[in-house]
């Protein structure tokens, strides 16, 4: 998905940034570190604005390098996206963030999207995070993800080709696997 957006963006002045939430990294993942990562992504491609460098110097001198606060980050993101014709922000596995992080992150993104008609959000997660999203965004396009039969078959073919013990496999068994597993999955 991200790569496809990037391909679409090629030749146009479009930025695609992404974040992955992770159960194992909940400690490091807060709304501030995630918004910071969005900025980091934008600036590592497009250059760091002078006002951000100044804020960094100030933090270093006056607050021994303390990070920015969430409202400051939101303002900087607003400015950064304003200079671009189109920005896609992709966040994967929202359900893997803590509820507090998710809430703060979504609220911040809502503030950003509200003033930036050029900014689109692509979010993924388990169905229940839909409720948190709706609290912040009244209009949401939804796609329900389930692997298609073709997806499952491609996947099985790859795994069978990688089989480390191919002597155990014959055409009949392979054909059985390819027939039975997609059937069983679609029954689920």
């Amino acid at each position: 998905m991200i790569d496809s957006l990037c391909d679409q963006a090629e030749g146009k002045d479009v930025a695609v940034v992404w974040l992955y939430c992770d159960f194992l990294a909940q400690k490091e993942q807060s709304a501030t570190s995630m918004l910071g990562a969005i900025l980091k992504h934008l600036f590592s491609r497009g250059g760091i604005p002078e006002h951000v460098r100044e804020a960094f110097q100030k933090a270093k001198e006056e607050f021994s390098g303390r990070g920015l606060l969430l409202p400051d980050l939101v303002e900087i993101v607003k400015k950064a996206v304003a200079s671009l014709p189109r920005v896609f922000i992709c966040i994967d596995a929202l359900d893997e963030s803590t509820q507090q992080c998710r809430r703060e992150l979504l609220e911040s993104l809502q503030e950003i999207v509200q003033v930036s008609a050029n900014t689109r959000l692509f979010l993924t997660g388990r169905p229940h995070v839909g409720e948190d999203i709706i609290k912040c965004f009244s209009e949401v396009v939804r796609i329900h993800l389930t692997p298609t039969q073709d997806d499952i078959k491609s996947y099985l073919e790859m795994r069978l080709d990688e089989d480390i013990d191919p002597d155990m496999m014959d055409n009949e068994l392979r054909a059985d696997i390819m027939r039975v597993i997609p059937e069983k999955i679609s029954e689920v």
Partner: protein
């Protein structure tokens, strides 16, 4: 900072090319710049994406890109559509990718 943003896309390059490396900061970012980026966030989502891209199977899930929902969301002009696309599914269905 309105005019100082160069083209993003020139840096993005072709993502179909496995040898493409997006993890390193471009060389034009100076030492202080690196410190600033590190200060903004310790997270490195580009690196995670590199892993996903290597492990993922090409073609799987591409049907999503062909849905009307995706087309409208990604292509329409500003302000014409809902800005948020939410893809949801149960654990293990391949929301991030299948491997």
């Amino acid at each position: 900072m309105s005019s100082e943003h160069p083209q993003f896309t020139g840096n993005v390059g072709s993502f179909n090319n496995n040898s493409f490396n997006i993890v390193n900061f471009p060389t034009e970012i100076d030492a202080e710049g690196r410190q600033v980026l590190q200060w903004l966030s310790p997270l490195e989502p580009q690196q995670r994406h590199q892993g996903v891209r290597t492990d993922r199977l090409d073609g799987i899930g591409n049907w999503v890109l062909e849905t009307n929902e995706f087309g409208k969301w990604s292509g329409a002009e500003d302000g014409c559509v809902e800005p948020v696309l939410f893809c949801y599914g149960n654990p293990g269905v391949g929301k991030t990718y299948l491997r």
